[in-house]
């Protein structure tokens, strides 16, 4: 059994996803664990896109923070060399038109075909969707990052999503603190166990069917 703090777990997942990215490519990072992925990206030819209108996102020193320069999570960012600004419709044309290589998103649930739910919880007011539905239909590849189980210990990889789905599209890869899955022909395939994790632990904590 692994015992990691929430922060350690998030960084472990972020670091693993970053290793999957090969330049040259354009990547859009969602809010939460995906944002941390930027800390572990090493290749100079990985460019970050943010849907509020910037291609070429980089980190920023405290002294250089500009309140009018933020990412989709409204966090301060910097402007990389070669960056460009554009309006929201151009930004989503890049996403919907298939020009963004990889979207890295968080999820509440993933089903065993790789369909995800990440924007609404039944019984609560539906207050926000942001760019999640656009990224799912448009990005060439979608990587999902999430904790393997919810707070009550139940699996977030399910036979069927019980929350409203974000798209009918099947994502490409799923990264949790326990394992990495690829989605091939609408089927989850476990391709890697995270350090110190056993297949028995993954089986015990996964409701979805997967091949190994």
């Amino acid at each position: 059994m692994t015992t990691l703090s929430k922060t350690e777990m998030q960084h472990l997942i972020a670091k693993r996803v970053a290793a999957e990215l090969k330049g040259p490519c354009v990547v859009n990072l969602g809010i939460g664990i995906p944002t941390l992925v930027a800390e572990y990206m090493e290749a100079a030819d990985i460019y970050m896109h943010t849907e509020n209108g910037l291609l070429g996102v980089t980190d920023v020193e405290e002294a250089d923070i500009d309140p009018n320069l933020v990412n989709a999570g409204k966090l301060p960012v910097g402007e990389a060399i070669g960056a460009s600004y554009f309006n929201s419709s151009d930004s989503f044309a890049m996403i919907r038109g298939g020009h963004v290589d990889v979207a890295i998103l968080g999820a509440l649930q993933v089903d065993q075909t790789g369909v995800i739910a990440n924007w609404a919880v039944p019984g609560k007011n539906i207050m926000g969707v942001g760019g999640a539905m656009d990224l799912l239909v448009g990005a060439k590849k979608v990587f999902v990052t999430m904790s393997h189980t919810s707070k009550d210990g139940s699996s977030k990889l399910l036979k069927t999503c019980t929350y409203p789905i974000t798209s009918t599209r099947n994502v490409d890869m799923i990264f949790t603190e326990l394992a990495v899955f690829e989605v091939v022909d609408k089927q989850l395939r476990l391709v890697e166990l995270m350090p110190g994790v056993t297949i028995e632990e993954v089986r015990a904590k996964t409701e979805a069917d997967f091949v190994h």
Partner: protein
């Protein structure tokens, strides 16, 4: 007649109760904060506000929300203002949630004279309920209607006195789209210059879209919203 005024209420004279009002910005970034404040001081009600968010709690459009001047909100991410959920729960506001790309594209379509368009975004989800589905080349699309409004309140960086606009970093966001999609377009800017001073290659919003220009009295700083 000059498009430039220094009187916020004169700039907002065309806004009437029941209007559909586009408000630029991604949260407070690129939001026309002075015009929003002007609206909080104006006697209008039953507004339909089209904006990505409804401000933050007690800031920007959040003030207008708390004054019960908003009948309906159309946006993509109301989560950033917890008061919106409370009002919705009490039945004090209608909400229409759109994917962010749909919000942007519907404004673009409205500004370009289109009735709407088909998109794959949202197809097969709860947000597609009640929307026409159409299969094109084997792919399922849904129909989204264009958005057109009575008034747009937008934020740019610089204007010339004709109304040509340039923007600043990620404060651009929805502003250039909204400039095209309303009968009356009111812009607040950091700086007003003479025609010829802006490089024609860099102008993002050509002057024909813009009706009224006012210098921003409130600006977003690292320390928050400040009076100039």
């Amino acid at each position: 007649m000059s498009k430039v005024t220094s009187d916020i209420q004169a700039a907002l004279a065309c806004v009437e109760s029941g209007d559909i009002v586009l408000v630029g910005g991604f949260g407070l970034i690129g939001a026309p904060l002075s015009l929003i404040e002007g609206l909080t001081e104006k006697d209008v009600t039953d507004l339909t506000i089209v904006s990505n968010n409804l401000g933050e709690s007690g800031k920007g459009l959040g003030i207008l929300l708390n004054q019960n001047k908003i009948k309906k909100g159309i946006g993509s991410y109301f989560t950033s203002n917890r008061d919106v959920g409370d009002k919705y729960q009490k039945g004090e506001i209608e909400l229409e949630l759109l994917p962010q790309g749909t919000l942007a594209e519907s404004l673009r379509a409205g500004g370009a004279g289109l009735g709407g368009y088909y998109t794959t975004t949202g197809a097969g989800t709860d947000l597609a309920k009640g929307k026409e589905e159409r299969e094109i080349d084997g792919v399922t699309y849904i129909f989204e209607k264009a958005i057109r409004a009575d008034v747009a309140l937008i934020r740019a960086h610089k204007a010339d006195t004709l109304g040509n606009l340039v923007y600043y970093k990620t404060a651009r966001n929805f502003n250039p789209l909204m400039a095209t999609a309303a009968k009356k377009v009111i812009v607040e800017v950091d700086e007003i210059v003479e025609p010829g001073e802006l490089n024609p290659e860099e102008i993002v919003t050509p002057f024909l879209y813009v009706d009224t220009i006012i210098k921003a009295q409130q600006v977003l700083t690292k320390e928050g919203v400040m009076n100039r």
